[in-house]
Amino acid sequence: MSEKVLMKGNEAFAEAVIRGGVRFYFGYPITPQSEIPEFMSRELPKRGGRFLQAESELGAINMAYGCGAAGGQGFISSSSPGIALMQEGMSFLCGAEVPVTLLNVSRGGPGIGSIQPGQADYNQVTRGGGNGDYRIPVFAPASIQEAVDILYEAPSIADKYRNPVMVLADGLMGQMMEPVMLPEEKHAFTSEEISTAKPWAISGSKKGTRSVVKSLRLQPEVLEEHVEHLFEKYAVMEKELERVECEGLEDAEVVFVAFGTMARLAREAMELLEARGIKAGLIRPISLWPYPYSAFDQLSPKTKAVVSVELSMGQMLQDINLGVKGRVPVRLIHRVGGMLPTSIEVVEKTKKILEEVR
């Protein structure tokens, strides 16, 4: 049964994936998401699942690979440097077509960086830090409710495409509390149901139906065919998984592009700008891959600038420019290191940008 409750982000995320069918959690402690393994260690055993604290992020992603290859619905959460350690595994999971749900509660970098919120994982999660040609869908919710809805759906998306699926939150979303409507719990596969639900999985074969899950393909023509197959699948994912929210584009003088918590800040700035007689719009990519390039075709002739509001040095600018296609100037308002811009700061910088481009 669905129910409305007040929850801390990290705990709501964990509850959402359990309700979405996840019964296996693998993770290693890292700030700012450690409430998730804590929650999972308490909840999963009560709900027919298993919690396993890994010896490292390398261990965690490979446990999740084993779980997914065996047909289980697995979940991993981590934060930026931990996600970096898992990239070899993500490449492997994509090559072997094994599903898993991943959550990155991102923080500042490079290196150990800081434990404060950041969005400088944009390139890491959309371009892939692992080797080879592969893609992972990435969703960046802007509220705890939206994160809950996406995480509830993510295990099914991962299973449908036999591919990892990532949700990118940031430290702010993980730590804040909001009221959320929790959806009804889905049926989770039992180990007996796996061999019929996922005949490809290594579930302990009956003779004649042997399954092999692998990513090694030593013959060039075989690997080429496999990579082409993966990219046919990714083309379908690009069509089916693109998500975006646009606001006030029709008469906007300036259009913000922002995801996650920065989209909320951009919305505040829009209201303040309107009070000052400046119409601002917002393109909020919910899927970062596939990126909603076509949303930029809705830009109005009245729009004089597109402004990315990011907690990074402008990692999203490349995608924005691919969408804008040179139609208007593209600018950046950013803070990094765990610093957050205020809405007033965004307003002042936007006014300066408009003076410059007019």
Binding site: L58, G204, S205, V213
Partner: protein, 249 residues
């Protein structure tokens, strides 16, 4: 007429890709014969490592997956969570298990993971062309120590069975050698005991199988067997390093 020998259904009817005189084929066969004899072929999940035996799934007739280099024990831990009632094993070489995968094997053993590990120790990296492994003997030549391994540069070779036996998690650890028919029969008994302990839920089971690599040792197959019997067994003593079943008796 009563057949006196039949080929196990545990091995697929294909030629292996291993070099002449390599004992991977022997190790594969005794593991799969044991599963066949125990009636477990339709009930088992195996994990192949990175190394020459990454292709083990082309020869072993059970559900299998590959694992990234060194990560097989983590992968098997994940599989075990989903299928607590199946038989699970990893098959790993010494570069995979004793070098890059040291973290995973130690923690899987410490957790007392209920799967069996077959550790193929031939003291060298085979697939990449004969580089020094953590298990390469002092004085042994490899492509990354052409004048022989020195203690000054690389320290002493790791004895994994002894190291893991210091932990409380393992139920059974034995080192065997594949250098003669008698020792192969003894090795098969160890493989069987590992599976029996796993099924009985006793905990982590580990069989180290001393193996040859004539190609990268630069020896003929008979001389490789002789070296294993004499030099390798001298540094890596055969025997049972842990047996909780015996301790309980």
């Amino acid at each position: 007429m009563k057949p006196v020998f039949t080929v196990t259904e545990g091995m697929l009817p294909v030629s292996t890709s291993y070099c002449p005189g390599c004992t991977h084929g022997v190790a594969h066969r005794i593991i799969m014969e044991t599963l066949d004899e125990m009636g477990l072929l339709g009930n088992t999940i195996g994990v192949a490592p990175i190394g020459c035996s990454v292709v083990a799934h082309q020869f072993m007739n059970v559900d299998m997956c590959e694992a990234a280099h060194g990560r097989a024990p983590a992968v098997a831990s994940g599989i075990r969570r989903v299928h607590p009632d199946k038989v699970v094993f990893t098959y790993q070489g010494d570069g995979d298990l004793a070098s890059i995968g040291m973290g995973e094997i130690v923690h899987a053993a410490a957790r007392g993971e209920k799967f069996s590990v077959f550790f193929i120790n031939n003291g060298i990296y085979g697939m990449t062309g004969g580089q020094m492994a953590p298990t390469t003997l002092v004085g042994q030549r490899s492509t990354t120590c052409v004048d022989g391994r020195t203690v000054e540069q690389a320290g002493m070779p790791l004895r994994i069975s002894e190291l893991l036996a210091t932990l409380d998690g393992p139920a059974y650890i034995e080192r065997v050698s594949l250098d003669s028919p008698a020792r192969i029969r003894a090795a098969k008994k160890a493989v069987r005991k590992a599976f029996e302990y796993q099924i009985a839920g006793k905990g982590f089971t580990f069989v180290e199988l001393l193996s040859t690599c004539p190609t990268n040792w630069g020896l003929t197959p008979p001389n490789a067997m002789k070296r294993m019997r004499e030099d390798v067994c001298a540094y890596y003593p055969l025997g049972v390093y842990k047996d909780t079943g015996k301790e309980a008796e």
